[in-house]
Amino acid sequence: MNYDPITIALSSVVLLLGTALIAPLFRRSRNTLINISFILASIASFCVVAAGYYAVETAVVSTATLPIGLPGLPFHIRLDALAGFFLVVVGLLSFFVSIYSIGYVKGYAGHRSVTSLVVFYCLFIAGMLMVVLADDAFCFLVAWELMAAASYFLVMFENERAENRKAALLYLVVAHVGAIAILFAFGILAGFSSGDVFSGYTFDAMRKAEIPVYWATAAFFLSFLGFCAKAGVIPLHVWLPEAHPAAPSNVSALMSGVMLKTAIYGIIRVTFDIIHVFPWWWGSIVLTLGLISMVMGVLYALMQHDLKKLLAYHSVENIGIILVGIGLSMIFISFKLPLLAALGLIAGLYHTINHAVFKGLLFMGAGAVLHATGERNMEEMGGLIHKMPWTAAMFLVACLSISALPPFNGFVSEWLTFQAFLLSPALPNRILILLIPLGAALLALSGALAAACFVKAFGVTFLGHWRGHHRPHVHEVDWTMRAGMVMAGVTCLLLGILPTIFIDWVDVIAEQFVGSTISLSASQYGWMWLTPVSYERASYSGIIVFIGILVVVAAAYALLHVKPGMIRRSHIWDCGFQKINSRMQYNATSFAQPIRRIFGFLFRIRESVEQAPHAGHKAFPKKITYYLSVKDRIWKWLYKPIVDSSFWLSRQAGRLQQGRIQTYLLYSFITILALLVFLR
C-alpha cells in the first residue's frame, strides 16, 4: 500500500460513497446513524485535506485512470497543485461542517427521517471532490451532475414548504442550463484536440490542442456562462438566495462555502490551464462581472431581513471579489506581466479559501441560531449574545472576517486585491489604466457596505432585546456544533495573521499557470511581514496588528482597574418616561433605511404607510402599518420574459394535444410521410 496523495484522495471519495451506501442500514437507530456517518465523513474530509496539502506542497502531478465509466472511455483522474488546493478548500470546510452536523442533524429528531439527508450529504461531498479530481470532460460532467443532483435533494429536504420546492426547481433549472453550456464548451475543446476519437475528451489532449481564436472564445464564454450559473454571478444569481437558505444549515454552509468554489476551480482550470493563451478582453469581462456581482450582491444583502438569505447574497458578493482577482490576473498575464498576474491569482485563491471558511462559519452560526430559536427572520430576534455566548463570539469572528477587517483573514485577500489594482498602471493599454482604478473604489465601497451589513446582522440578531412576540426557550448549542464553529473561527484568525506561510504554500499554482511567484518578495522579510511586490511598495503584518491591539487593550484595562469595582448595573436610561420597550429598537429594516434610500434606484421598492385613525383626532392614530417590498429588477428584466415566453411556447405546443385518437394517427401518418420523403 503506497500513501501517495491521489490514493488517499480516492480512498476518501470511496469512504464517502461507502458511507452513503451503508447509511440506510442504520435507519432504525437515528443517533447511531448520525454519529457513525458524520464521523466517517469528517475522517474522509480530513484525509482529503492531508492529500491536498501534500499535493500542493510537493507540486508533484500524479495521474490515474479508473476502470469505470463507459467501455473505451475510462475516467481520468489527476491531482496537481490546483486540484490539491481546492481539495484542501473542500476538505477543510467539510471537516468542520461534518463535526458540526453531528449536533445539528440531531435537532431534526422527532420531526422527520434524516437518512436521506445523510446519504445525499456524503454524495454531495464526494461529487465536489470528484469535480476537482477529474481530468477528462466525461468524468468532470458526471461528477458535476452528481454534485448538482445531490444538492438538489438536500435543498428539497424540508419539502413540505412550498417555497423550498420552488427554490429547488429553480436551482435545478439554472444548474442544468449551466451544465449544458459547459458540455458544449468541452465539446468544442475536444473537437480540436489531437489524437483519436477516444482520447480527445481528456483535459490533457485539450491542453495540447491548437484552437483557433474564435472557437477558443466560444468555448471560454460557454464554459464561463456555465460556471457563472453555478457560482451565482449576477445576472445568473437568482437561484442562489432561494436555494441556499432552503437547505438545512449544515448543507447551506457547504453549498455557499465550497460548492460555489468548484465553479471558480472550473474557471481557473479551463482558462489558465486548458486554453492558457487568451486576449486581454476576456479578463476585462471577468473583471467587470466580478465588480457588478460584488457591489450588487452586498446591496441586495443589505435589504434582507432573513438571516440565511442575507448570507446567501453575500456569497454573490464574495464570488465577485474572487472573480475580480482572477480577472485582474487574466488581464495582466495577457499583457505578459507574470509577477502582477501571480499577485492577482494568489489574491483570488486566497479569497477562495477565506470565503469558504468564514462563510461556512457564518452559516453554521445561523444554523445554531435557527436550531436554538427556530427563527430565520432577524426582525424576531435580539439579545442572543447572553443566551448563546459561544455562537455569538464565533459569529462575530466571521462577521469581522467577511467585513475585511484586520487582523482576520478576509482583510488579507482584499488587501492583496487592492495591491493588484494599484499596480495596473504597468499595463500598456491606456483605457484600462484609466478604468481599472475605479474598480478599486468599488471594492472599497463593497467592503464598507459589507461592514454595514454585518453590523446589522450581528447587532440585530445577537444584541439588544428579544424582538419577537413569543419567547422561545433559547439555549446554547451542544459541544459538537461549538467545536465545528470554534475550529473554523480559529482558522479565520490563523489565515489572517500568518499570510506569508499560506502564500509560500500556494505559490506553486501561480508558478505553474502564470510563470511567476510572489513568495520570494512576499516573505522576503521573514514570516511576519507580508510584502507582496517589494518592501517599498507596501507591507502588512497581521500578527503585529493583532498583538499590538491586544497589548494596548490589556494595558489600558489593567491601568484602569487598579482600583477594583466602580461598576453599577442599572436600568436603561429612558429620559424619565418609563415607557421604553423592545419594539422601539432599531431592527433590520430600519437599520438599512438610509442605504436603501441612497441606492434604492437599483431595486424595485414599494413602500406605503397606512394609518388606522383614532376616534378622537387624526394626530393620534390607533395603529400604523408599514409595508415594504424590495424586488430584484433583474428578475423582471431578464427572467420574467424568458419564463413568460417559455410558457407561451409550451401553450402553443400544447395545441397539438387534442386528446382525439384520429388527430394523433394523422400526426403519425404525416411523420412517416415526411421521413419517407426526406430520408429516402
Binding site: 468599488l442 461592514a451 453590523v455 439588544g464 507591507s539 491591539i549 487593550v553 466602580m566 432599531y586
Partner: protein
C-alpha cells in the same frame, strides 16, 4: 533600526496620547474666538477626561461584553495607528506594520465595534446612530481610498513612510492630481471625524446626532476612553493628511538630534490645520442627513478627478 528610532517611536505614541486633547482644546478655543465666545482654555479637555475617569460606570442590565470591550478596543486601535503614521520621523520600527489601506481598516474596525455597542443596549438612539454612522462610513471609505490611491500612484507606494520619503526626495511641484486629492481628503476628514457639516461634535440629545447617539449609554471611564479616542482620531487624521500631502519638516533619519525641529514643525502644522478646520466649521451649517451622500459624492468625484488627471497630465 537604531536604538534612537525605538525611542522616537515611543515618544511619538506618547505624544499622540498626550497631545490629542490639547489639539482638541485648540480647535475648540479657536472656534470660541471665531464665534465671539469666551473660552474654557486649551486644557479643558484634560479636565473633562479626568472628571470622567474618576466617575463610576453605570451599565444597563443587558449590556454585553461587547459594550464593555469596545472602549478599550477603540483606544487600542488609535494608539497603534499613532505608532504607524509618520508624525515625528519616518524611521519608525512599526511603520512597516501597516500601509495606508491597513491604517484605514484599523479605523474601520474601531467603527465596527462602536456601531455594535450602539446597538447593544437596545435603545432607539443607539441603533439610529449606528445605522447612520455605517451609512456615512460606507460612502466615505471609497472616496478616502480614491484620494489615497491618487497619492500612492504618484509616489508608487502605499506605505506612508515611503510616500513621505518620495515626496522628500522629489522637488516641490504643485501637481493638479495631488491638489484634487488633498481637497477630497479634507472633505473626508470632516466626515470621518464627525465634524460640521456632517455631524456636530457639540450636540447632545438631538435627533440629528450620529456619533453622540452611539455613545449615549456610556459613562465613567468607558466614556472617557471613547472621548479620548475621538480626540486622537481627529489628531491622527490630521497627521495622516500632513504625512501624505505636506510632510516637510519631519525627521528623515531616526536620530534624536532631529527631533526638536520635527516637533516644532508638527506643532506649527497642527496649529494651521486646526485653523482650517475651524474656518470650515464656522463657515458652514450642518447638513441634512440625506445631503451627506452628495457631499461625499463630491469628495469622491474630486478624488477621481485627481486620479484621472494623474494619468492624463503627469
Amino acid at each position: 533600526m537604531s536604538m534612537d528610532s525605538f525611542i522616537i517611536e515611543a515618544l511619538q505614541v506618547l505624544l499622540v496620547i498626550g497631545l490629542a486633547p490639547a489639539f482638541a482644546g485648540w480647535v475648540r478655543t479657536l472656534k470660541c474666538w471665531f464665534q465671539g465666545r469666551s473660552t474654557p482654555g486649551l486644557f479643558q479637555p484634560y479636565r473633562d477626561l479626568f472628571k470622567l475617569f474618576s466617575k463610576e460606570v453605570v451599565l444597563a442590565y443587558n449590556a454585553s461584553w461587547i459594550f464593555r470591550f469596545t472602549p478599550y478596543l477603540l483606544f487600542g486601535t488609535a494608539v497603534l495607528a499613532g505608532g504607524i503614521i509618520p508624525i515625528l520621523s519616518i524611521d519608525l520600527p512599526l511603520a512597516a506594520t501597516a500601509d495606508v489601506i491597513v491604517l484605514i481598516s484599523l479605523f474601520a474596525i474601531a467603527r465596527f465595534f462602536l456601531a455594535l455597542s450602539g446597538m447593544d443596549i437596545g435603545t432607539a438612539f443607539g441603533g439610529m446612530g449606528s445605522s447612520r454612522e455605517m451609512m456615512i462610513a460606507s460612502l466615505a471609505e471609497p472616496a478616502m481610498l480614491m484620494a489615497i490611491f491618487t497619492v500612492s500612484l504618484v509616489n508608487k507606494s502605499t506605505s506612508l513612510a515611503e510616500i513621505v520619503q518620495v515626496i522628500y526626495s522629489g522637488q516641490l511641484i504643485l501637481r493638479p492630481s495631488i491638489t484634487f486629492a488633498l481637497i477630497a481628503f479634507i472633505l473626508i476628514i470632516l466626515a470621518e471625524t464627525g465634524r460640521i457639516p456632517v455631524d456636530n461634535p457639540a450636540t447632545h440629545l438631538e435627533l440629528t446626532m450620529i456619533h453622540e447617539a452611539m455613545i449615549l449609554e456610556y459613562s465613567g471611564r468607558h466614556l472617557a476612553l471613547i472621548e479620548w479616542t475621538s480626540m486622537m482620531k481627529l489628531y491622527l487624521f490630521v497627521c495622516l493628511c500632513i504625512a501624505a500631502f505636506a510632510p516637510w519638516g519631519i525627521a528623515v533619519k531616526g536620530s534624536l538630534a532631529a527631533l526638536p525641529a520635527a516637533f516644532g514643525f508638527m506643532v506649527a502644522k497642527l496649529g494651521v490645520a486646526g485653523l482650517i478646520i475651524v474656518l470650515i466649521e464656522t463657515g458652514l451649517a450642518k447638513m441634512r442627513l440625506f445631503r451627506v451622500p452628495e457631499y461625499l459624492g463630491v469628495a469622491f468625484l474630486l478624488a477621481t478627478l485627481g486620479m484621472l488627471s494623474f494619468f492624463i497630465l503627469d
